[in-house]
């Protein structure tokens, strides 16, 4: 789960990390009111989960009420890489002399968190990581002990942070690391941490992603999830319990449903291999019952981009007859099937499932390859 910048900054401020004064606004009038309270210069920043907001026109610096109104009108409601901007953060402008990158994430290969600081802040850190990896100081942290103070100092000095600010930056890093652990974050980064012209150290942006698998023990953060949904499909996926990225919307037109992440990914890859474009990833998981299968179909039908649907089930604990029942139930509600559905069942009770399936409503294929080919062809037909 990704927190919005304004949510992450609330968390940071509560933990004692200095952040600029700010207001959340979802209307032009609210933006104007906010700059009235905060003063100028101020930044108007789109609150959507999109990287590179600035370059895409999602952030504007304003120095007057007229500019603020103009910026609000242009940003609120704009489409930013496919997401509609519904909220902006209005924030006091910071007069900075230097920018740092400070972050904590999980080093998968080591199985340990890693703390990072770079004096190349304010730019895309992934570009820095690729082009000048030596510009990022890294320190792996033993998860049993947590971050020792000396480790925070080590990474600060290794990054080459000026001595005058080393203590403040180390302190921010330690607080971020504690937040990382206490909030079950998968990633926290502040890019940039700004050194202001009056020698303050301020977190000017905030990224905080929470481990979906740990939300059960993070009730306060879980409450923020509702506000973090970007559209109705994401909200519906959560309601249906396809959370934890079991539903991922993509940009193609072949809807895909299967059981098991690897098999569903493989189905996506085969759609591509046979010339189609996947509209989504939807993993119904192991042992799904009829209702979950019906919900999955509703989920995919709700995506207006979808032109055909392929079901790919290899039953282990999932039973083919249950899946078939769910498909029938879901489709029998319609007077006319909204999009053509192809089904491939294998493994546990696949034979029984194929007998149950109403072949007036779906096409049954015996192999994975033929099922995908059929769904790709169906979608192509719609687009002709």
């Amino acid at each position: 789960m990704k927190l919005h910048e304004y949510q992450a900054k609330e968390v940071f401020a509560d933990a004692g990390i200095p952040v600029p004064e700010s207001r959340l606004a979802s209307s032009v009038e609210a933006v104007v009111e906010a700059v009235g309270e905060i003063g100028f210069p101020a930044a108007v920043k789109a609150q959507v989960h999109v990287g590179g907001r600035g370059k895409a026109g999602g952030i504007e610096i304003v120095t007057s009420e007229a500019e603020a109104r103009e910026a609000a009108e242009s940003i609120l409601g704009m489409d930013l890489k496919g997401y509609t901007v519904e909220r902006v953060l209005v924030e006091a402008g910071v007069d900075f002399v230097d920018e740092l990158y400070v972050g904590v994430t999980m080093d998968r290969a080591a199985g340990e968190p890693v703390a990072m600081i770079s004096t190349e802040g304010g730019v895309d850190i992934e570009t820095v990581a690729e082009e000048t990896p030596e510009a990022i100081a890294r320190e792996q942290i033993d998860p049993a002990f947590g971050m020792h103070p000396y480790e925070s100092r080590k990474v600060v000095y290794e990054a080459g942070v000026e001595q005058q600010f080393a203590g403040d930056v180390a302190s921010i890093l330690r607080t971020l690391f504690d937040l990382y652990e206490d909030s079950d974050a998968s990633e926290i980064e502040v890019n940039p941490v700004m050194i202001t012209s009056d020698d303050e150290v301020v977190a000017a942006d905030a990224v905080m992603n929470i481990d979906d698998d740990a939300l059960f023990r993070q009730p306060e953060l879980a409450e923020m999830e509702e506000e973090s949904f970007e559209n109705d499909l994401e909200r519906k996926a959560s309601e249906y319990g396809f959370e934890g990225a079991n539903y991922v919307r993509l940009s193609g037109d072949v809807g895909i449903i299967g059981n098991g992440a690897g098999l569903v990914m493989t189905t996506l890859d085969l759609v591509d291999y046979y010339g189609g474009t996947p509209a989504n990833f939807l993993d119904i998981g192991g042992g799904a019952k009829a209702e979950r299968v019906a919900n999955a179909l509703d989920m995919v039908f709700s995506d207006e981009n979808v032109d055909s649907v392929v079901f790919n089930i290899f039953g282990g604990i999932t039973r083919g007859d249950e899946v078939a029942k769910g498909i029938n139930e879901a489709l029998e509600q319609f007077d006319e099937i909204p999009k053509p559905v192809t089904v491939r069942l294998a493994g546990t009770r696949a034979e029984e499932g194929m007998e149950i399936l109403n072949t007036d409503l779906v096409t049954v294929e015996k192999t994975l390859e033929s099922a995908v080919q059929r769904a790709v062809a169906d979608a192509a037909e719609v687009n002709e």
């Binding site: 992440a261 085969l270 493994g347």
Partner: protein, 289 residues
């Protein structure tokens, strides 16, 4: 021969009194697995699925000589259950549970460096040595005895490939699902090393997916240390960066690490053919034998 589990493996099922634990304990016993005990706090003294239940894993290990466990415990308690298995101590722990918080696994990972226990998973289908023993939720009927080892980050994808092999009359020594989480116990390299040492394994199938660098490390290991031929598969070629595909570990980072291209290239460089479809993988294995 086989790796990690065989006829002699004595299994305790952690969480045996829960719905899933109970069901799969019975399935394992039916398959022939030597399930000797269950372990559930507060349920010591009961009998479930025909085996005695103990309050702690340590008691099960002492009283029933258990040396391996399969963990069917809800995510909130799974990290603790793994620590308990490591501390018992057992030789092998197989964590089926999906959704274990990553930071719990980071702590488990640290403890793994201090003990000798093999951990498989979490978020995995388990391990099976066909005809001998099955620890986990894999559907036993699709497997057959033979000479191909199989290691995979994915459950149902494994079934898909195994089904193809079995239908072609190609059996398996051992198949192990190592799990789809970012931090797991047994890695590809660990499993490949065991297969390389196993005399009966004549070829290995390795099913990777996007995310992390485990496949790249495996490719390096294969190139430098393996004589046994390996056929590869990588799922997630079409996944866009930054989107997690079901598995917590299946995500291409924004900086482009963990891509299918990188993994396929590394495997190809190590002489491993990577199939475009599961059927092609089976074709490649057949060509090795």
């Amino acid at each position: 021969m086989s790796i990690l589990v065989d006829d002699d493996t004595r299994v305790v099922v952690q969480g045996i009194t829960g719905g899933e634990g109970n069901f799969h304990a019975e399935q394992m016993i039916e398959y022939g697995t030597n399930v000797v005990a269950g372990a559930v706090p507060g349920k010591g003294g009961q009998t479930t699925a025909g085996v005695p239940v103990y309050d702690t894993v340590e008691e099960a290990a002492i009283e029933e000589n258990a040396d391996a466990s399969v963990i069917f415990v809800p995510p909130a308690f799974a990290g603790d259950a793994i620590f308990e298995a490591l501390d018992a101590p057992l030789d092998l722990a197989v964590a089926i549970t999906e959704g274990v918080p990553t930071q719990d696994m980071a702590k488990v990972n640290k403890r793994l460096s201090e003990v000798d226990t093999h951990l498989i998973g979490p978020n995995c289908p388990g391990i099976i040595t066909p005809g001998e023993s099955k620890l986990g939720i894999l559907p036993g009927n699709i497997f057959s005895e033979g000479n191909v080892g199989l290691v995979s980050r994915s459950g149902t994808l494994t079934y898909q490939v195994v089904d193809s092999l079995t239908q072609r009359g190609i059996g398996q020594t051992t198949a192990v699902g190592i799990g789809g989480d970012p931090i797991i116990g047994t890695s590809f390299v660990d499993a490949l090393e065991l297969f390389e040492q196993d005399d009966e394994t004549e070829a290995v199938v390795m099913c990777g997916e996007i995310g992390g660098e485990d496949e790249e490390e495996a490719a390096k290991f294969i190139g430098e240390h393996m004589d046994t031929p390996v056929a590869g598969f990588i799922a997630g070629r079409t996944a866009p960066p930054g989107k997690r595909m079901g598995h917590a570990g299946a995500i291409v980072s924004g900086s482009g690490t963990g891509t299918a291209e990188s993994k396929i290239e590394a495997l190809n460089d190590a002489g491993v053919p990577v199939g475009d479809t599961p059927e092609e993988v089976a074709d490649n294995v057949e060509s090795f034998l």
